[in-house]
Symmetry: C2
Subunit: 383 residues, 2 copies
């Protein structure tokens, strides 16, 4: 037994010291190890005739290596095609240069655009993004968080429409810096990013009222799953309600339609279901995707935008200005969002801002105008 231990010991410390080697250590030869063809740091060291620690130093720019040695090692790295093992190095380092990002869905342009902006911003700081989509499911949300937490990420951004309390507690307990979109209160390691949805909604409603609209239709969608309503949607709902309240004007009438399903489908169906039954001269869509469906629903029925009905969206996705007519919508800056989130995740000091406010702004395009003078056509039956 003692012999066995000794053999292992010798193998670990190398053969240079002695003739008491028990097993041949192929790692000293510079050839790939016995297990596979992966080039290891030791191979580079042997090849360059330096020690393993020196190679590591040049890899990590830990000064104290002469220029000549550095160049020599780098040549060895290049000629062997060496690539450091991410898992070994992160394990040894005890931390990663990886930020986790959880979004609801990549199909939705808002999330896709945000993910892209986060990746760019993270790269600017030397970090990478580990991206996961929850598909709006709290279960997938929780599973993704568990995975990310096991991956020793340096920080975690939860930019989702759905929410999961268990996941949140896990994150809180982990002590990892995190940012949540919209939901809950800040904690020691949790910052909250508050997008001013209410302000955006208010601006949209005010804009329509100032144009003379008095019959507003608010179109929203719910997820397939019978879970709780999406948080981002709830805030936009509240924003709409608050805006209507604060704008209390003689004769203002509002209706709300909710349809299950993906944005554009829901928007189209919403129009199909209320058309001819509810009177409205303006539509506020809860997202640009929904607005796109609303366009389709309206235009398929020969309704002209904005001459007969005005439409406002929310998100200012890339495509919104290419719709016909270009969509008036509420802008949420992806780059500001990314900058604020990444900055929050990366700053170590505990004194940092725990509540991050992101303003919104109404982008005026051509989908809104004054309502038609005369009572609209037959569809416009009052309710």
């Amino acid at each position: 037994m003692e012999a066995l231990r000794y053999a292992w010991f010798v193998k670990r410390t190398g053969t240079k010291t002695a003739g008491h080697t028990v097993r041949a250590s192929t790692n000293q030869t510079g050839t790939p190890g016995p297990g596979g063809k992966r080039v290891r740091i030791q191979d580079v060291a042997s090849f360059a005739g330096v020690s393993l620690g020196t190679v590591s130093a040049v890899l990590n720019n830990n000064g104290r290596v002469s220029t000549a040695t550095r160049a020599h090692v780098q040549a060895a790295i290049a000629s062997l095609g060496y690539r450091p093992d991410l898992y070994a190095s992160n394990l040894a380092r005890r931390h990663t240069q990886m930020l986790g990002l959880l979004v609801s869905n990549l199909q939705n342009p808002f999330f896709a655009e945000t993910a892209q902006a986060m990746e760019d911003e993270a790269a600017r700081h030397g970090y990478r993004i580990s991206l996961t989509a929850s598909n709006f499911s709290p279960e997938q949300h929780r599973a993704a968080v568990k995975q990310l937490l096991g991956a020793r990420i340096a920080g975690l951004a939860i930019i989702t429409s759905e929410h999961d309390d268990t996941a949140r507690q896990l994150i809180s307990a982990s002590g990892i810096p995190a940012v949540f979109l919209d939901v809950g209160k800040p904690e020691e390691n949790l910052a909250i990013l508050r997008v001013d949805s209410r302000g955006g909604m208010k601006a949209a409603v005010k804009h329509l009222i100032q144009l003379g609209h008095r019959d507003l239709l608010f179109v929203r969608n719910s997820q397939e799953a019978s879970g709780p309503p999406l948080l981002s949607h709830r805030l936009r709902d509240q924003g709409f309600a608050a805006a209507v309240r604060s704008c209390a004007i003689e004769g203002l009438k509002t209706n709300i339609v909710d349809v299950r399903g993906p944005g554009a489908d829901a928007g189209e169906q919403a129009i199909a279901s209320v058309f001819g039954r509810i009177h409205f001269t303006a539509v506020i869509a809860i997202t640009d995707m929904v607005a796109m469906g609303v366009y389709r629903g309206l235009q398929a029925r020969g309704v002209r935008i904005p001459r007969e009905v005005s439409v406002v969206g929310f998100d200012n996705t890339y495509f919104s200005r290419f719709l016909n007519p270009p969509l008036t919508t509420v802008d949420v800056s992806r780059s500001d969002l990314s900058r604020l989130v990444i900055a929050s995740l990366l700053q170590r000091k505990k004194t940092s801002q725990r509540l991050i406010h992101l303003p919104t702004s109404l982008v005026l395009r051509e989908s809104t105008a004054a309502p038609p003078q005369q009572s609209p056509r037959k569809r416009a039956k009052k309710v």
Copy 2:
């Protein structure tokens, strides 16, 4: 020196065996280790009163653990909130359950939708996707591949428009199973996914010709960077050219416009630049995004689709059927693509298919119709 070595040795093997402990090993107590608050597998083992190997066995479902012990260990895991360290386990395991995916850009719905489909399909096999965007830049492409290769991914899918030869050689040399979109020839570990762009283009051209169109405008976009043309675009170019050749019909005229920039912008500008100067009754856009810009360009000039001009897109992105009118486009199935790619990456046998064909199909919607009978309005000056 020998004493020091011995101390280390004892520490590694634990204190159970003897009184010759040199330093106290806090790891045996079940409390978090001295370094931080991360719970380790040894903590779970101590807490449950079993050995570390047993905990590992229940974590990895390596049979041979009694039901009672398993339950007991799982309780310990739950009550300590233990989460295995991804880096340590992957290092020890020598492989990961991670697949790399490189796409050009997440803003483009085709890539976003494909990424989403790949994630779903990978999850079905117990794998995760490490997603990176190259932003169409060969340099970023190469850097991303290097990172992915260092991350010991189990497989790598390159679904990009751009290409980099160095990256390809690195992948080839690594021996990691990989799939490339469209480019090059299969090798030992490299499969090629060939999307039948030519077939799709041919179908589009034939469709328009059968409707009676004789003046076709092909609208394409190039990237900002002055690099080589995108591969996917080159194939679609060729498809267009081949289709026109094979359809050689009396009086068939074609023009090609190329504009630099992102899809929708390019499409809009393309129309702006040729409108009134080139005669066309149908537009074939190289992507749906470009088609969206073409819509905008046409409609801003009062041209009705399809009554005056027909438009065909390529990709069948989610939004295409919500355009007004719904876009006729060439479909590339995201789910088929994902299934084929993941299957190729995961199958170990070398005899597997190295050349994967993915058919395309023309989806007929309302953006195409017979050309106007009489010579179009003033814009329609022959060239």
